[in-house]
């Protein structure tokens, strides 16, 4: 078997039971740092029901809230949880020791503003200040478009590091419009009512296609992936996913 570029970690860091040793339950990692956490918890409950097994929720709950922490993710997937909910399914963007289920739902990046008269992307004049949550797929889509324009026709892209910083920049008028993951916007708007007043600019180049979201698991767990994929398919077809999404405050749709 070919070697993977996997984290090399000491065995004593893997001191809990294997998440696959008990066939009567499934352990699902949830990340409290994500805006879709509550939706993920409901979906985890439905997945366990569909698989006819008990559910063990593993709250990741890390204090460190930055960086792609692949080392801890690796430990979690080997050691603590069968699957880890809440990964945007970008082909080729993750380490090869990670595998993914089929999507549970899809959501979108949106272009939002607090300025009047901006309904469509074409309403934004060249040179307008467009904030982006840096490096995200919505940003990349916009970047690819903006860089294809003649220099005089480009927008002024303003990269911002975190969703809260980005929304604050829009609120304070430092950008004319902002590209952000819609669940982040809605989540942070719950604590900042003025953010809820922002409006969506129709911008298919940013929002389409929607981004599928699924669960990650260790790449060698092919049988588990197959079972979970079947469960997702059933829950999607019987309308359960649609119902759970509607009961949540997350702007999302079942995956197509």
């Amino acid at each position: 078997m070919a070697q993977l570029e996997e984290p090399q970690l000491p065995q004593q860091w893997f001191d809990e039971r294997s998440p696959l040793s008990d066939q009567q339950s499934i352990s699902i990692c949830l990340d409290s740092r994500l805006p879709e956490h509550d939706l993920h918890e409901r979906l985890a409950q439905e997945l366990a029901s569909a698989l006819l097994v008990d559910l063990e929720i593993v709250e990741v709950g890390r204090e460190r809230h930055v960086e792609a922490d692949y080392e801890h993710l690796y430990i979690d997937l080997i050691n603590r949880c069968s699957i880890y909910l809440g990964f945007k399914l970008y082909p080729g963007a993750y380490p090869e020791w990670l595998d993914f289920t089929r999507p549970l739902y899809q959501a979108r990046f949106v272009l939002i503003t607090n300025q009047e008269g901006l309904s469509n992307f074409g309403d934004l004049a060249p040179g307008s200040r467009v904030g982006v949550t840096q490096g995200t797929d919505g940003d990349i889509r916009f970047l690819a478009y903006n860089n294809s324009l003649p220099a005089a026709s480009r927008y002024h892209r303003l990269p911002l590091g975190q969703p809260d910083i980005a929304l604050k920049a829009l609120s304070e008028g430092r950008v004319d419009a902002l590209i952000i993951w819609e669940p982040w916007w809605q989540h942070l708007a719950q604590g900042q009512p003025e953010y809820a007043e922002f409006s969506v600019i129709n911008a298919p180049l940013v929002s389409e296609p929607a981004v599928p979201v699924g669960a990650a698991l260790y790449t060698e767990r092919t049988a588990l992936r197959s079972l979970v994929d079947q469960a997702i398919q059933i829950l999607t077809q019987d309308g359960t996913v649609q119902r759970v999404i509607e009961e949540s405050s997350v702007p999302a749709q079942p995956a197509r």
Partner: protein, 581 residues
């Protein structure tokens, strides 16, 4: 007087002055510990290794010569010590016959350096999340006065009593929750503990920083952000990005110090995110500059205030993760009949470059491994012309050589005054670079995403590793030893016995003739020589010590390119060798 000590000697008057003004006690304390005075830090005893690269000039050179070219083949294991498992990139320190060893998870041990007997052990109670992470490693601790300094995984400058391991004080250096950490370690200069902070990947304005703390009290005396401040000429080099959108410039390693010029030299890494189109540094806006100071830059600072006296940027707008954040080797070079105090530095590109350490003026450069990023270097200014075919773009795949872990890594080069040569452990490989989307706030991914697919260099003969010797007098290649296993993360050590020690990913630890490159000795260890080898002596007996372990990025990057090389995931240890009877 050995050659290596020559450049310290003219400063003896300065030493006397420092002794008078530092206010640090020099008498042996009640526990029998002889304080590590400023004088000792300026000129350590041949037997000792009291800081990262042993001396302020970062040579990585031990003048001990009992082990030499004639007898190195007689090296035998003196003792070994199992270390705490996990990522391991450490430097053992030795002073007065006691070895101080930092382990993963902030366990510090004092060992009898001759026998390996444990004297004391300190283990920090880290937040649970940090106990199982590679973040709580440091490449070196530092001895100074009556203290042993290190920076913990939870970002405290900790001063231990070197006789007992008791905490004397601890001072927070920043929020670890934001991703800040110290991978290098401290350098003690005239009563100030200077430390570089890295890991500023959490989209923090100002980037990383370098601090100066009062060695006696732990009070923070100064802090210099590694991203130039707004409103300064240097601050206007970020392509009109606002300050809150400028990220990166990690100070990954440890600096050097010139006591005559009273300048400490510290270098930095690249902007974040790595891809310039994501960071906003490209495309270049009309009328703007996108050099992104002070990334990939050597800063020359006053150790007592942090004042930046000059700077030299090695690679503007680095979009390839080609850090220059490594050791700054201080040597005096003969150039056109003049002796020039110089810094010799090597970034991940493997290009050896020299600048004048009085003012940062560029002197010369010499290439080593194959690279395709720098097309040419101006022979007068040192300005690099970039091969834009290697410049990553959104939606495209480009070939970059070397790959992001670098032709050289954090594993330090070493200089020998016997040969006036710099010895570089390196590796040859490239990557197919495809920019991929990041998650919110993940401006620094640590290379974790599959953005970089490794591949051999064009025309590779299958050898991935090499050790080069570059004559700093005429910049010629003295010798180059090539090998199948990559270096991985094994630093170099030079000695007065005319030897160069280093290792490779195949778990080999080797000794080379410093003049000819002939391999005179090798042994195979239980894991990678993944740290900094040192040499020291106790009671007239010379030892070579090398930590082994696994887990660093460079050592895992070759899993695809040299799949036949398999090493244990755990098993950190320290091996100590001496001559057989």
């Amino acid at each position: 007087m050995k050659d290596h000590q020559r450049w310290f000697r003219p400063y003896s008057y300065l030493l006397a002055l420092l002794v008078l003004i530092s206010g640090v006690g020099f008498a042996q304390n009640s526990s029998g510990f002889n304080p590590v005075t400023d004088e000792i830090l300026l000129e350590p005893a041949d037997d000792d290794w009291v800081m990262w690269r042993r001396t302020y000039n970062a040579w990585g050179y031990s003048p001990l010569d009992q082990i030499n070219k004639e007898n190195v083949g007689d090296l035998e294991l003196a003792w070994a010590w199992s270390m705490v498992d996990g990522r391991q990139e450490t430097t053992p320190l030795v002073y007065d016959g006691v070895m101080y060893l930092h382990n993963q998870g902030d366990t510090v041990q004092a060992l009898n350096a001759a026998t390996g007997d444990l004297i004391w052990e300190y283990t920090r109670d880290l937040p649970g999340e940090l106990a199982t992470t590679s973040s709580s490693i440091v490449r070196s601790m530092a001895l100074g006065y009556d203290k042993l300094f290190f920076v913990s995984g939870d970002m405290f400058l900790v001063a231990l009593d070197p006789t007992s391991g008791q905490v004397i004080y601890e001072t927070s250096m920043g929020p670890w929750e934001e991703g800040f950490r110290v991978t290098g370690g401290p350098l003690v200069i005239n009563g100030v503990v200077v430390t570089g902070v890295s890991g500023c990947g959490g989209a923090q304005p100002g980037g990383c920083y370098i601090t100066g703390h009062d060695a006696d009290s732990g009070e923070e005396l100064w802090r210099v952000n590694t991203i130039a401040e707004e409103g300064t000429p240097e601050g206007d080099t970020w392509n009109a990005l606002p300050y809150e959108s400028r990220f990166g410039s990690s100070a990954w390693n440890i600096g050097s110090y010139d006591p005559e010029l009273d300048l400490v030299y510290w270098s930095t890494g690249q902007p974040y995110p790595w891809i310039a189109e994501m960071s906003g540094l490209s495309p270049l806006q009309e009328g703007e500059n996108n050099d992104a100071l002070y990334t990939d830059t050597t800063l020359a600072m006053r150790p007592d205030t942090g004042e930046i006296v000059w700077y030299h940027q090695w690679l503007p707008n680095d979009t390839w993760d080609l850090d220059y954040a490594y050791e700054q080797v201080l040597v005096d070079l003969e150039i056109d009949g003049e002796t020039v105090p110089a810094i010799v530095a090597v970034g991940k590109l493997g290009i050896v470059e020299a600048i004048d350490r009085r003012n940062g003026d560029w002197l010369w450069a010499v290439e080593t491994v194959y690279q395709n990023v720098v097309e040419s270097i101006d022979p007068v200014t040192g300005e690099k012309t970039i091969n834009m075919d290697s410049f990553p773009h959104i939606g495209e795949t480009t070939v970059n050589c070397p790959a992001d872990p670098g032709a050289r890594t954090w594993a330090a080069t070493a200089y020998s005054p016997l040969t006036n040569a710099l010895y570089l452990p390196m590796q040859e490989f490239c990557s197919d670079t495809t920019p991929n989307p990041l998650g919110e706030g993940e401006v620094y991914t640590g290379g974790g995403r599959a953005t970089f697919a490794r591949r051999p260099i064009p025309g590779s003969d299958g050898n991935m590793g090499r050790v080069d010797a570059i004559n700093l007098g005429d910049q010629s290649e003295m010798w180059s030893h090539r090998m199948r296993p990559a270096n991985g993360g094994s630093a170099a050590l030079t000695t007065g016995g005319g030897l160069v020690f280093t290792g490779n990913l195949g778990r080999y630890f080797m000794a080379f003739d410093d003049t000819t490159g002939e391999k005179l000795w090798e042994t195979r260890l239980s894991n990678l020589p993944n740290g900094y080898p040192i040499s020291y002596a106790v009671d007239g007996e010379q030892y070579i010590a090398v930590p082994v372990g696994h887990g660093s990025g460079p050592s895992t990057a070759f899993a695809v390119l040299t799949p036949e090389i398999r090493n244990p995931a755990g098993g950190s240890a320290l091996y100590v060798f001496k001559l057989g009877n």
